[in-house]
Symmetry: C2
Subunit: 483 residues, 2 copies
């Protein structure tokens, strides 16, 4: 059964997404075309993403800093590929304090250039390296076709920027942060992402190589949920980021950058959501347990609320994010629907019979209907709840992994089969030479491009024939339609 | 003795500030005039401010959300005073995606307008009230004369926006948040701020009344460290924020807004800093304890570092922010200076004799020279350190309060005396009628205006004669030169 006002996934996944994002109060459209308003519930989800990444960044030695929103237009032009990639997407400030500016200021679409300028000032010697910086910020890319969280003109993100003495160190950092992203996605967001290298066509404008984590949404489409870039010496040369090495020789640094954005919130929605709305992994859920008190007569209210308040206090003291829904104008049924829509992992119902029997009813969001409901003792309720939350976290990852695995297909038979898989809305894993012409051909035939060459190759050490041109291929790549 | 490269406070306080902010690695100038780069150490200090405020906001029932950076130009014009106040300070985007925009977009200088638009959509009934929202964001105000943290074109801040059913509720919220700011300033930042109401001349553009916390810097100047505004129904009427009350009548809401910015970092620097650099209150210090290992011979290194590492682990496990300075190219003396510059509250020195005697040396940043140094046992070191940190927190507040009290003067004698106090760089507390002409006269004579009418009046219930015009005055106000 679907929720009122929500298009069923099976009917139109894209409308289901938009409906759920709005009905669950995650975000809303704004009066500025392409910009969104992140509502409190959506922002709490983003805070969970932010916190889950931030401690991992700090644990791996990074420090946060903040760089200007505005970038002089001339900066962007210093790295040829970079400006070409971003020029069509820029918002430009031409008037400041009532006067026309001599040099227009670009609202940052990403900060490699202005941070490059700072690194050039900050780095003198090999002793200053590695320099490991992260920034939490808003960025703007002029987009015409926008979707809440997935593609908005302004979005929130973090962008890591690091400088190193050798290419080896920079590449190790690039891979380390890709791993940090995968660790967060898999263990906190319960999204079984695939780590890999983007093709040369699909890399970041100005990078030697880009790496991504790719997630499968419940319509089979891919979503790039995070990227990590080996920038080589491209930005170091454009911004003159040099250091004196141990032999006192002047060298260019090797830099990296990596980012995850509010898009991750969209990925969580589309990985786990079902016809009833969101399903949130406990580790990132703003509310992990909602308690719905149930009573009909006034005489029942006192004892029920005493139990509710006691259990609420116990759960809260244990660090569980718990909420009591005591709205007095809504029926329990309405509340159940509402919290299912919002994806709260565990619902606890407490009524007069529970008070009498020292029990509570628990309903799991990840297991629909009666199968997900049980009566448990109030004794040891904290342990029971923690146990169920762990179980739900694991179950959502397992469900998503099963879904993903059943929609991945290794295709070596023919180009026609390969196209069929992609057009059927699934992912094809095939030998790919990496060539631009081949990728363009697939795009023409399916509107899809390669997602990445997965780090975990199914046939390591072997080679094959490119599924598109038949030429020599050293790696297999995923191809799929994508957000 | 002053630090190398730092102008003494007594010589030029303003240059001292700029020197210290840069030498202590808090912030740096950027290639975009008026914008600053917040360096990691400065950003950690800002994170402490942010975290200290954020939990207080959440505890008082507020939720974070996020609204667009860009505001349609027409929105700003809906509240007449508001547009007049902000029009000269706007940065305007006129080009997006390579095309001239039909309606220019203003980079938010503050978000009353766009949040007003959202509130109008979100609020229907009295059941939706109060609506208590906060936003952490960057804002832009075109400033020509900028100073790091104190006045920058772009700055980071939080802006609270709330809507209520009655003026009484809105005013209670305005005062509650002023109190939250004062609580943070006094108890975390050790700044003895004065809470009060701004004059009608000095209120926020579009508010009925503005309230502020005012801090005294160590050059005697005032700094407005936070503001809370009673917006009446001005924005509700401009943006049609209405609700149906319990009698089903349509009513305009009463709204508030309140903000604290990266300016608070400047306030911390200028309240506590001395000739040796920063002095940071332990509650907001990024590093609370720095351990400097001391050894000359290689044979000494092992035992010293064993003790250092053990104590480091113990302090860290107790939640103390501790750092070991093991840079091998710098002398202990250089390190002492460096950490004094950075304002670390407590320095711990551990050498071979300490290993032998089971002791460590502690040096307090708030007590200069030998008086601030002591040898303590390694036994119970966590408790000793926690005790000293508490003591330093209290001592910095006490020192700042004494300084402030000795530079406040109640002046009722004559306008000439009043002007002398202000021109002498101190604060005058005098009867003030609140009139625009009087305030303009003071400004002409001293370049100062009123800071606020303190909530704690020295002569409650009494009235007096305005120190400027001699007319009836119901309250006393502070006047001082300000940042």
């Amino acid at each position: 059964m679907a929720q009122q006002g929500v298009t069923p996934q099976s009917e139109d996944f894209s409308r289901w997404y938009t409906d759920v994002v709005q009905k669950a109060d995650l975000a809303d459209y704004s009066p500025v075309r392409g910009c969104m308003i992140i509502k409190p519930y959506g922002y709490e989800l983003w805070e969970a993403v932010r916190d889950g990444l931030d401690w991992r960044f700090k644990e791996t030695g990074h420090k946060n800093a903040y760089f200007p929103l505005f970038i002089p237009e001339s900066f962007l032009k210093k790295e040829a590929e970079h400006v070409e990639g971003f020029a069509p997407e820029l918002a430009v400030v031409t008037i400041g304090g009532g006067k026309e500016l001599e040099e227009p200021l670009v609202v940052r679409p990403t900060s490699e250039t202005i941070i490059g300028w700072a690194f050039q000032k900050w780095i003198q010697s090999h002793r200053d390296l590695p320099l490991l910086i992260n920034q939490w910020a808003n960025v703007v890319r002029w987009e015409l076709r926008t979707r809440l969280f997935l593609r908005t003109m302004e979005f929130l993100w973090q962008e890591g920027h690091t400088a190193h003495a050798t290419h080896e160190d920079a590449l190790a950092e690039t891979m380390r942060m890709l791993g940090v992203y995968a660790d967060f996605a898999i263990n906190d967001a319960a999204i079984p992402v695939i780590q890999g290298r983007k093709s040369q066509q699909e890399r970041f404008a100005g990078a030697l190589n880009s790496y991504s984590i790719e997630a499968m949404m419940r319509d089979g489409k891919a979503l790039q949920a995070g990227t990590s870039h080996d920038l080589g010496q491209n930005f170091a040369k454009a911004f003159d980021i040099q250091f004196t090495d141990e032999s006192n020789e002047l060298q260019y640094c090797w830099t990296t950058s990596w980012g995850v954005s509010t898009r991750m919130v969209g990925a969580i929605v589309m990985t786990h959501g079902d016809e009833m709305g969101l399903r949130l992994p406990p580790k990132v859920a703003p509310v992990q347990v909602v308690i719905v008190p149930i009573f009909r007569k006034d005489a029942e209210q006192g004892p029920v609320m005493d139990t509710v308040n006691r259990i609420f206090a116990d759960l809260k003291a244990a660090g569980i994010r718990v909420h009591v829904d005591n709205r007095d104008t809504m029926s329990p049924g309405f509340k159940f629907n509402d919290w299912e829509m919002r994806g709260v992992p565990l619902r606890m119902e407490i009524g007069p019979k529970d008070v009498e029997k020292n029990s509570v009813a628990l309903a799991r969001r990840d297991v629909p209907g009666k199968a997900g409901k049980e009566f448990v003792s109030q004794d040891g309720i904290v342990e029971t709840v923690l146990d169920r939350l762990d179980d739900i976290q694991a179950s959502l990852l397992e469900q998503a992994t099963e879904y993903r695995n059943s929609h991945l297909h290794e295709v070596s038979s023919s180009y026609a089969d390969f196209i069929d898989v992609i057009n059927g809305g699934e992912w094809a894993l095939s030998w790919f030479c990496g060539g631009a012409a081949c990728e363009a051909k697939v795009k023409e035939d399916t509107a899809a491009v390669s997602r990445n060459f997965p780090l975990e190759q199914p046939h390591p050490g072997e080679t094959g024939k490119c599924i598109i041109c038949g030429g020599a291929a050293h790696e297999m790549a995923y191809f799929a339609k994508a957000y």
